[in-house]
């Protein structure tokens, strides 16, 4: 079992600022947005909650042990976070393709693809396109996945789940590993994500995924 300091990759004698810095760097690395649509998204979110609880443990410990009272600098206590992040797949598991989502989550990609291909053209909605894109990403067919993810966003521009996957893919094509989407444009579509982004900044970043 790793100590919270080992998880954050800092020494127990590190200053509060160093710990915050290390924590932010890790959050940036394992942020769910970097793994949107990835078959490893569940592992990234596990890593994320491990990092969060390590950080919470350390700040709590230091708050208790320091006589002056450690200021958490805007981060809420663990309980106010409203439970850990659960991954994108779970968000709308009540849709018409919930069984296909379950197969994808279980890693049964070829079964999921077969079921998807059996859906008649008339009922292929935004979710179908999103899931088809996900299946292709999971198979490693990265280029084939793009048109499906794009189509899902076109059909349902306000769905955060679809946008996150498509924007992640486009950002990595453009900027490579760690590439981020720039939220500079201000059409109604990006507004939603801009608000989320602004919210991140208000919370001194990092924990925007809990909204």
């Amino acid at each position: 079992m790793k100590s919270p300091y080992e998880i954050l990759g800092v020494s127990p004698s590190a200053t509060d600022d160093e710990i915050k810095q290390a924590y932010r760097a890790l959050v940036k690395k394992y942020h769910p947005d970097n793994y949107a649509g990835s078959p490893l998204a569940d592992l990234a979110s596990e890593k994320m909650s491990e990092i969060n609880s390590a950080y919470d443990t350390i700040t709590e410990q230091r708050k208790r042990s320091s006589s002056g009272g450690y200021s958490a600098g805007g981060y809420g206590p663990a309980s106010s976070r409203g439970g850990s992040y659960g991954g994108y797949y779970h968000q709308s598991s009540t849709g018409q393709f919930s069984d296909i989502r379950r197969l994808i989550n279980a890693g049964r990609i070829f079964d999921a693809e077969q079921l998807l291909d059996g859906v008649p053209a008339a009922s292929r909605d935004a979710e179908w396109h999103y899931l088809k894109g996900n299946v292709l990403l999971a198979k490693g067919f990265l280029e084939d996945a793009i048109p499906y993810l794009r189509r899902a966003v076109e059909m349902e521009p306000n769905n955060y789940e679809y946008r996150a996957a498509y924007e992640r893919v486009e950002a990595q094509r453009q900027f490579g590993y760690g590439g981020r989407v720039s939220y500079s444009t201000c059409d109604p579509c990006t507004l939603c994500s801009t608000i989320i982004c602004a919210n991140c900044l208000c919370n001194t970043c990092c924990r925007c995924y809990c909204i």
Partner: protein
């Protein structure tokens, strides 16, 4: 098709470069020990990377010993000692060489054909004992060559993802053999798939203009826009790096980070730039 997975050297610290070289030398020595001195010729960056990754995710700490080497007999240089990691990478190198041989015999012109067909029985002989030890890996490698032939037979129908799939799947399966832990295997499989895809794509870009000139098959010739090649590569490298980031790395972290987060992109970029320069010259 080998030699694309390497660090961005200027960004390595001197001590990191030293240990990278020591692993490289260790693999070279390992090849010679396992398969005879001639096997040293098969040394490549990719299998140095495999040895390093194998060592990084397993528990036993790597040990370095200063030793002389026939290529540099006057100065002792540190070598990674012969261990499971070195052995694994050497054995995989021979299996891949066997497939490269089979592939080259199938589609070379007369002179190289002669060379490769003389080599084939030798390599088959050496690799037969690896085949016994790693029947899975050997089967994976053979299937890869078969599937590759099928994909290429599609000709103008072959889309880029289908062409990459055989090599990528094979590498993914081989990478997943490095660990026994279920989650680690899953990450390694994804990472290996993406690195295999990356290697295949790099090779395709490198050969693109030659293949077009000679009217030979190239997986990228069906891709609509050649200015997009770098985006395809960047995305593939990023997916490999995303998987790598989830591994629990115990040794060589700085070097592996360098390769995965900087080296892949840098190599891809230099390939694209080289191609651009060739184009400018020809105009």
């Amino acid at each position: 098709m080998f030699g694309y997975i390497k660090p961005l050297e200027p960004q390595l610290k001197v001590c990191e470069l030293e240990s990278y070289k020591a692993v490289y030398c260790g693999v070279c020595r390992g090849l010679s020990k396992r398969f005879g001195p001639a096997a040293r010729c098969t040394l490549s960056y990719d299998f140095t990377f495999i040895a390093m990754l194998h060592a990084a995710i397993n528990d036993s700490a790597p040990v370095f010993t200063p030793q002389r080497c026939p290529l540099n007999p006057f100065k002792k240089r540190p070598h990674l000692d012969y261990c499971d990691s070195v052995e694994f990478s050497c054995e995989m190198a021979i299996l891949m060489l066997r497939e490269k041989c089979a592939d080259n015999v199938a589609d070379s012109s007369f002179l190289p054909y002669l060379g490769w067909s003389i080599l084939t029985p030798v390599i088959e002989n050496i690799s037969s004992d690896v085949e016994k030890k790693h029947p899975d890996a050997s089967r994976i490698a053979r299937e890869m060559t078969e599937a590759q032939k099928k994909a290429e037979a599609l000709g103008s129908e072959a889309k880029i993802d289908i062409c990459c799939d055989p090599t990528a799947s094979a590498l993914g399966d081989i990478y997943s053999l490095m660990s026994k832990d279920k989650t680690t295997k899953r990450i390694l499989k994804r990472m290996g798939y993406m690195l295999g895809r990356y290697m295949y794509l790099c090779d395709a870009i490198d050969d693109f203009d030659d293949d077009v000139k000679k009217n030979q098959f190239n997986p990228l010739s069906n891709y609509p826009d050649d200015s997009e090649f770098d985006a395809v590569l960047r995305f593939t490298a990023a997916e490999a790096a995303n998987a790598y980031a989830l591994l629990d790395i115990k040794y060589f972290k700085e070097i592996l980070d360098n390769i995965m987060f900087m080296g892949l992109d840098a190599t891809a970029h230099s390939l694209i730039e080289r191609r651009k320069k060739r184009h400018e010259k020809s105009i």
